[in-house]
């Protein structure tokens, strides 16, 4: 079935609204649902980006079927704020930053769907992130080192190697 909003993508969200016995059916794709936010005709409130996310999270569970693993996942609890994965999947929001750690296993598919990616590559807090920045620099230098070796530019390669060693030393001292 094609999405009734854009008429292009397949409809993946289906719901029915009944008001005074009058039944209205909606078939839309995720993209249109996200774009429309709470404005999907005929729905009053409750259909926000958060409920859409919770739909996605439920799909994750449903995809695996009702296995023991899936129901255990629902019961996983964040030890810092007490939120369970089940609550998180209903609310579509985390209770605290530690939830990311406790719910980690279920997050990759969600982030992949929402962002098309699972790892941060942007700004890093200077104070807390010194190590991360060193590590990123080292990764970059390793790439350059590899390239220099492939192109047989050994003097350059030696320079990169020295820089890497220096940074690794600095990390160890931190």
């Amino acid at each position: 079935m094609v999405c009734q909003e854009c008429g292009v993508r397949p409809a993946t969200l289906h719901f029915t609204k009944i008001v005074n016995g009058e039944k209205t059916e909606f078939h839309i794709c995720e993209s249109c649902a996200r774009e429309k936010g709470e404005l999907i005709p005929g729905t009053s409130g409750g259909f926000s980006i958060h409920s859409l996310l919770s739909g996605l999270l439920d799909l994750e569970g449903a995809g695996k079927g009702k296995t023991a693993a899936a129901s255990t996942a629902q019961g996983v609890r964040c030890e810092e704020c007490g939120m369970t994965y089940g609550q998180f999947s209903k609310l579509g929001r985390f209770g605290c930053s530690s939830c990311y750690k406790y719910f980690d296993k279920g997050l990759d598919p969600l982030f992949k769907r929402v962002h098309g990616s699972t790892a941060h590559v942007g700004k890093v807090p200077k104070r807390a992130g010194a190590k991360i920045q060193f590590r990123r620099q080292i990764d970059e230098l390793k790439g350059q080192l590899q390239q220099a070796i492939e192109q047989e530019e050994f003097e350059k390669a030696a320079e990169f190697r020295d820089q890497i060693r220096k940074l690794e030393k600095e990390i160890a001292q931190e």
Partner: protein, 354 residues
Amino acid sequence: MSNLRFTEQALSEWMRSGGSHSEIVISSRVRIARNIQHHPFPLLATQNQAEEVMNVLAPVIDQGKETGFGTFHLLKLDDLEELDKKVLVEKHLISPNLVNDSRGGAVLLNEDESVSIMINEEDHLRIQCLFPGFQVREAWERATAIDDIFEASIDYAFDDRRGYLTSCPTNVGTGLRASVMVHLPALVMTQQINRILSAVNQVGLTVRGIYGEGSEAAGNIFQISNQITLGQTEAEIIDNLHSVAIQIIEHERNARQRLLTDSALRITDRIMRSYGILSYAAVMDLKEASQRLSDVRLGLDLGILKAPSISVLNELNVKTQPGFLQNLFGEKLSSTECDMYRAKLLRETLGTTH
């Protein structure tokens, strides 16, 4: 009537100068979401925990002292009157979410109202920078500089792999939402808008009405913003929005020219009629006012009208909102009274510019 300085004027000081592409881009905005380590997010925070967050964050910006971005003032939501809150939302200085769904909510505003730092919104900290016209890069530079001020003394919730940890999974990573507010009447009239909007959706951007998620695109004004916050650097996100916005501006400009060449009489008639109705009507609802103001704005850009100024139109867009009307004409207006005062305001403002 309110005594709060931030709700007296419809137009923030920052809106008065144009910025580039100002005939199409009304404003540029960048918002970054941050949280403090080891504190529950506002969703779960108790009143005490929320106040604790406020006590940690508010002193970072020394109120009443010059910061390089102006002098900041702290407004606690609990101390504000309902009407002031409504007007702050209509001026885009705070989000509806901070008003409706927040414990210990507060906002730090600088003098020209170009920086708005919300405390205890969906996240502990939301830094928002607004610029007139097309200045999304400038807005990002200011926001990241203010972020650095906080970061120097706050331990942010940050993770190697996931980046800045936010309450909603849609903001994780950079926590960055950059947006431009654009006026696209010609693309709407020539029915190209849907095609363009769906293309925009395919490159990780999203389009909303001017009051954010769930609001309608009133008066042909659309807000285009990034959807993706994880897996791209801030520079990539800003560049992507920038280049897509430039293309949309170009399409709108072409469509405006085409309207002028293909249907000059029809478009002139529509613009003149709207100007006439705005200048003489006795009752007007918000939807009609937005649409007619959009026509007049287009008329100015096409050279069909010489007055009023863009700044007067920007001001009317805010002043015709329900909260601001109540602020001007009395606190409890029925919806019919609102429509009547809206028409009166428009008549008085535009009548004098003939």
